[in-house]
């Protein structure tokens, strides 16, 4: 056990985590250069394209230093705000962390929030200054930031380059020398922390764990404490480039277990594995049920494809337990599902995976967070869909989730960022200068406000120089109203949203304007109204169809004209009708793109 080192990497997106990780694998001869597909640890296509790690992974390296052999377990962490719980469990499985900072960009919000998670777990932090080869590198300045942030010595920071290989051996030495060996009782009752799981279509769910106490052997009867389920350990092993079966995984080490589990839902990140025969009475601390934060309706574009969509959602859930869904129906969109996601990025990923892996074309409705409504009778109702909000006369009050958001930006953008957050009903909690021109702003914000157009606007106003991270802080009472959209008097359920009263007029006006742009002219005038209850707060109209038929149609016109009209008909097939008004798909996401 004293020759095991478990570590993870903390980095902001694009700061070169994956490239550097590949270098570690290469320098420890875990992989040959030949095996490398650029960025080996990210094996979903989507991840590679987006340059983010969606699902975390682990890999074991063997490394010899000064004549002593060591086992180094690298536990990779997902790199996006939506996955912070998963990050926290990966971190909990480690004793050390590489803090990778891009020498040309400096510290970003995400670096800091993950760093805090690591410090909470008492991890040994090894600061690494990456991308030293870039012409824009400002090592001294970024070193100042790091020293300021973690209180290390300047010389403890390792200059490196994932691209050139600079500093890789220094990093390996630091891992061995600075990261403490895991501690645990080899003879104690088994406690293994599940920090990740993957789905394999042949073998079912493979759970990744770290043995905290005791040991786990092949064919052991094990129990997952949080779910209470028991399984046989059909196979245990260590994680190299491929899974390598072993008879036993001992205290402090990292491994995998295959036990015939079919669905990802049964394996919960943060759960504790113990023995059925000699169980540990306690679970490893920190387990939480991951709860979806953002909800949206997903509907098949072609209403006949509802069953196919259900099938696809089930398959997605096999390897992504964090997505939840239940059937719902909408007058406008027919049958579909109300789906819960960890965040906006997660939602986009699911949408893309549905299209890419399952060839489904779907309409996603306006996302909302999960509200709590309290009725006059004292009942608490979870509202994941605006239409679930009780009638105003039965409603006592509503609570909405709040987040603590950390935004790091250049000092010149502090003004615009502040006004954005204040406009989004944010309250500033703290403002601290990391260096002379880099500021960390901490806000308390209603989470519902960031699901609309927060990210895009933050990026725009800061010219890309703002990073953002958040975690949920709890629920607070709030003056929320349901804003309905009516087309020719008919409410369109899929366009309703819950919104703070203070923003409702402005929002109602903008959404009506946007819909006027998106809804094509039809045989009659279309009145678009935004209303709160019976009160109309905004109105627009789409004029009736243009009268324009009297153009010529001779020998040379027939083909072109036919194609035009056929195309027009095709476009209409993708529209949905509410009452007698036809709405294009784009309208259902319109509120996300208000300027």
């Amino acid at each position: 056990m004293k020759h095991i080192r478990n570590f993870c990497i903390i980095a902001h997106i694009d700061h070169g985590k994956s490239t550097l990780a590949d270098r570690l694998l290469e320098y420890t001869q875990t992989i040959s250069k030949r095996d490398e597909k650029a960025q080996l640890l990210d094996d979903m296509d989507l991840e590679r394209e987006r340059g983010i790690t969606i699902k975390s992974h682990a890999i074991q390296m063997n490394y010899e230093l000064d004549g002593q052999k060591y086992v180094l377990n690298l536990i990779d962490t997902p790199g996006h705000v939506d996955f912070s719980y998963e990050v926290s469990r990966s971190i909990a499985a480690c004793e050390g962390a590489l803090l990778i900072v891009d020498a040309s960009q400096g510290i970003q919000a995400q670096t800091i929030s993950n760093l805090y998670l690591a410090l909470e777990q008492d991890l040994e932090i090894i600061p690494v200054l990456n991308k030293m080869d870039l012409p824009g590198a400002m090592p001294e300045e970024v070193k100042d930031q790091i020293v300021e942030l973690i209180g290390c010595k300047r010389e403890e920071i390792i200059p490196a380059s994932g691209k050139s290989g600079m500093g890789v051996f220094d990093i390996l030495r630091a891992i061995v020398e600075r990261v403490p060996a895991p501690e645990g009782d080899p003879r104690g009752e088994l406690q293994a922390l599940i920090f990740d799981s993957v789905f394999n279509s042949f073998r079912g769910i493979i759970a990744y764990f770290k043995v905290v106490n005791g040991e786990i052997r092949k064919n052991d009867k094990v129990k997952f404490i949080a779910t209470g389920k028991e399984y046989g350990a059909d196979e245990v092993g260590i994680l190299k480039l491929n899974q390598e079966p072993r008879d036993v995984i001992k205290t402090g080490d990292v491994g995998y277990i295959i036990s015939g589990i079919k669905e990802a839902r049964e394996v919960k990140v943060g759960d504790t594995i113990t023995h059925v025969d000699r169980p540990s009475t306690t679970a490893i601390q920190g387990f939480e049920e991951v709860k979806p934060m953002v909800f949206a309706g997903i509907y098949p574009v072609d209403t006949d494809e509802f069953e196919e969509l259900r099938e696809s959602m089930h398959k997605l859930q096999l390897n992504d337990a964090s997505i939840v869904f239940e059937p719902e129906s909408s007058a406008a969109l027919g049958f579909g599902f109300r789906c819960g996601f960890l965040g906006m990025l997660h939602m986009e990923i699911i949408q893309e995976r549905l299209e890419r892996e399952f060839d489904m074309t779907v309409i996603t409705t306006v996302p909302n967070v999960s509200y709590k409504a309290y009725t006059t009778k004292g009942d608490e109702i979870i509202v994941n869909n605006p239409s679930d909000l009780p009638d105003p006369n039965k409603l006592e009050f509503v609570e909405e989730p709040f987040i603590k958001a950390s935004i790091i930006t250049k000092s010149e953008f502090v003004g615009p960022v502040m006004s954005l957050c204040i406009q989004k009903r944010g309250v500033i909690i703290n403002q601290s200068y990391l260096t002379a021109d880099r500021v960390e702003l901490t806000f308390e914000l209603p989470m519902g406000e960031i699901v609309f157009d927060f990210y895009d606007r933050l990026k725009t106003i800061s010219k890309g120089y703002a990073s953002f991270d958040y975690h949920q802080t709890g629920y607070k009472q709030s003056d929320l109203v349901r804003l309905d959209i009516r087309l020719n008097g008919e409410p369109v359920d899929a366009l309703s949203s819950l919104i703070h009263r203070s923003n409702s007029y402005e929002f109602g006006k903008k959404i009506c304007e946007k819909l006027r742009e998106l809804i094509p002219r039809q045989q009659f005038e279309i009145i678009i109204q935004a209303s709160i209850g019976a009160k109309i707060i905004a109105r627009e109209s789409v004029r009736a169809l243009r009268k324009d038929v009297t153009a010529k149609c001779y020998g040379g016109d027939i083909s072109r004209k036919r194609k035009l009209l056929e195309k027009q008909k095709k476009g209409k097939k993708r529209m949905r009708s509410v009452g007698n008004v036809e709405i294009p798909q784009s309208a259902f996401m319109a509120v996300l793109k208000l300027d």
Partner: protein, 375 residues
Amino acid sequence: MAGIYIHIPFCKKACHYCDFHFSTSLTYKAGMLDAIRKEIVLRKSYLRGEAVETIYLGGGTPSLLYAGELTQIIDTIGNTHTVSPTAEITIEANPDDLDPARVRALRATDVNRFSIGIQSFFEEDLRWMNRAHTAQEGEDALKRVLDAGFTNITTDLIYGFPQLSPEKWTANMEKTIGFGIPHISAYAMTVEPKTPLASFITRGKEAPMNDLQSARQFTELMNVLRSAGFEHYEISNFALPGKRSKHNSNYWNGVPYLGIGPSAHSYNGDSRQWNVANNAKYMSSIAEGAIPREIEVLTVSNRINEYLMTALRKIEGIDLDHVSAAFGTPYSRLIEADLRQFTGNNWIIKSGMRFTLTDEGKLFADHIASEIMVE
């Protein structure tokens, strides 16, 4: 039965609204006419021996040609095709070309129908359109052609552009009727992309067209011409009894036609094809004996949709018994279901299995056609 269309790709001046293919340089006229005659020969089998009932010389401005040049073309057709002795032979003519000598010379050719581009009888409208003729020349031309003994004449009129007041529009119609012209093609001014007019509007130099004005003037057109005894036999075309355009009617009835010249379209029942819209490329390709064309083979649904689109515009309307017989009852049932909304709102009148546009429905013919198209 078949038709032949000849595209003469030259004009004196470019009208601001026109998006037809033409050149204002006459340098290559002789070479072009050689190429056109050569193409007629090369494609003598296209119509599979069908009798040619109509010939249409369009453009461009075919009235730029000398009578001798026209005769050469018509003779080439006669030498390669079976031309019916009663064939309708139309020439598109601009008033400024129709001087007394030219009209006399045309009298000696086989041309028996004139399509005269009047557009408006008001000088300021003609200037705004950048037409080559004056208001006076327009009136003179009509008189001359009539005086020369031609009885089968159509004129083009344009409405729905901003400076055409209701009074001027009525005056244009009445003047045409007063001359005794038996056929009128009337078009709402349409802003085609890549025309000078489109660019003026984009740059704010001209006001965009107003569809309400167009609708009002179209309604006025129907009322005035119907009370003068004209049949509204196609959405843009009005004729006194017996004076419909045979050539254009054939387009709408799915009769095959051979299109000769750059940009000309042809149709043989199974496919449509069109020549390159470039004079130099056309001529060099024909010189090598190759037709510079693109082909589109029509699927069943394409053919049904073309029928629906053209039939809907005609006075006879859509005949679903014809659709059943030609394409099968499943299609006619689908179409009938889609038509129901329009019989419901009184845009279409149903009589047996025949569906015709009402006057209100004529304002939305494109929309309706699109709605009832099949896949």
